[in-house]
Amino acid sequence: MFRNQYDTDCITWSPAGRIHQIEYAMEAVKQGSAAVGLRSKTHALVASIKKSSNELSSYQKKIFKIDEHMGIAIAGLVPDGRVLAKYMRSECLNYRFVYDGPLQVGRLVAQVADKSQLGTQRAGHRPYGVGLLVAGYDQTGPHIFQTCPSGNFWEYHAFAIGSRSQAARTYLERRFEAFEELPLDELVMHALLSLRETLAAGAELTTSNVALGYVTAGGTFTVLEDEAVQPYLDMIGQADAPGAPGAAAQMEE
């Protein structure tokens, strides 16, 4: 349906000044299950939906701890995400060896973006088919960054990527200004409620299809999975009374 003579590699510009291969790689991110990231004054948090390929398989790993002060959620090709996670981990480790301290989150994100750009400009490579949401806490406070296959990156108060993430972004856009002052519990609830917006009709958040990771000042990046998520699922269950923010938007969908 897209087929044209300029779309088979990333070293050919189309007459309109586009590189279709990069755009297709961005499409891979949109196919991946959703991830959200948000921050308060004290915490940065990422959460994501995990898929399993069939009933007998495990759920894919979508949240990766990078260092004590940083973690990522990915959407898109999970193997590509693993490659970038490995790169980020080794950069952080290397920084700790040389400087005996944590690497600034924004500096690492820029490095990842610049690394991604290289794959978009030469023959024999392809762009990464993965987008990252990076949550970290460093000298300049909590951060949420997004990277994408084109080699672009942005810093957000809150954001969502992946399939049907527009619904989560809409949820977040309406509320993010209040996130600054929230305690961790409520931040987690907003993460889960925004994630729920991305689910297909009839699907529900469960302890096996959702994972969270958060970090605070001087704290360790903590991943919450499986039973650890249950208390928060219970909390949003109660918040789910008629007229509650989550319920309405889901009905629209």
Binding site: Q5, Y6, C10, I11, T12, W13, S14, P15, A16, G17, R18, I19, G106, A110, A113, D114, S116, Q117, L118, T120, Q121, R122, A123, G124, S150, G151, N152, W154, E155, Y156, H157, A158, F159, R169, L172, E173, F176
Partner: protein, 248 residues
Amino acid sequence: MASIGTGYDQSTSTFSPDGRIFQVEYAVKAVDTSGSTAIGVKCVDGVVLAVEKSLVSKMMVHNTHKRIFHLDEHIGMAVSGVQADARNVMNRGRGEATQYRSTYGDAIPGDVIATRLAGYMHLHTMYWWLRPFGTSVLIGSYDQDGPQLHDVDPSGLSYRHFAAAVGKAKTAAKSQLEKLPLSTLTCRQAVPELAKIMYSIHDDLKEKTFEIEISWVCEESGKKHTHIPADLLTSAVAAGKAAKEAEE
């Protein structure tokens, strides 16, 4: 562009029968359609650079998505076009500045870094396994010979300017820059003028929210490239908005 689609426009290493390299032209097209404009003026006491950028989301953290970079303490680069490509050029520029310092023990002159980056961008128009950069950049510098302003485009062409504009609205911006009294203008005077130009060339119908970023390297900034002070930016933006409203 009669040769589009005839097979002569698919590789940087292919000339068309009428002597053109279409891939480079398409890269220039990418700069012009990418939605941002960068302008710069060389004043009597320094150089001022400005970019406009549209905000993709209101959830973005203010002031984090930079389009003006430092290449060295005395050199700034304002970019238009594909942001990721621009960062690649930026990294090369920083590398050149570093290498020049370690070889010659002194800061790299503005014309040298402009020439080297032009060479780097030109290199990407020479081989089939690379593609031209989708970015045009402005380089503002202050060295022993005083302030200088250069541009570099995807073909590897580079010129020194009194005033220059690259990106989406470069034509409109240039015609306005020509009206400025460039032989007497100081950086402080130029700042609100550039803001006014940014507001007047901005297409409100396409993108509603945008912000402008302004930097300078001048005597007032100690011959260092820095973003202009926040209060100066605020008043420049106010001047830009006022001029736009007066126009309408």
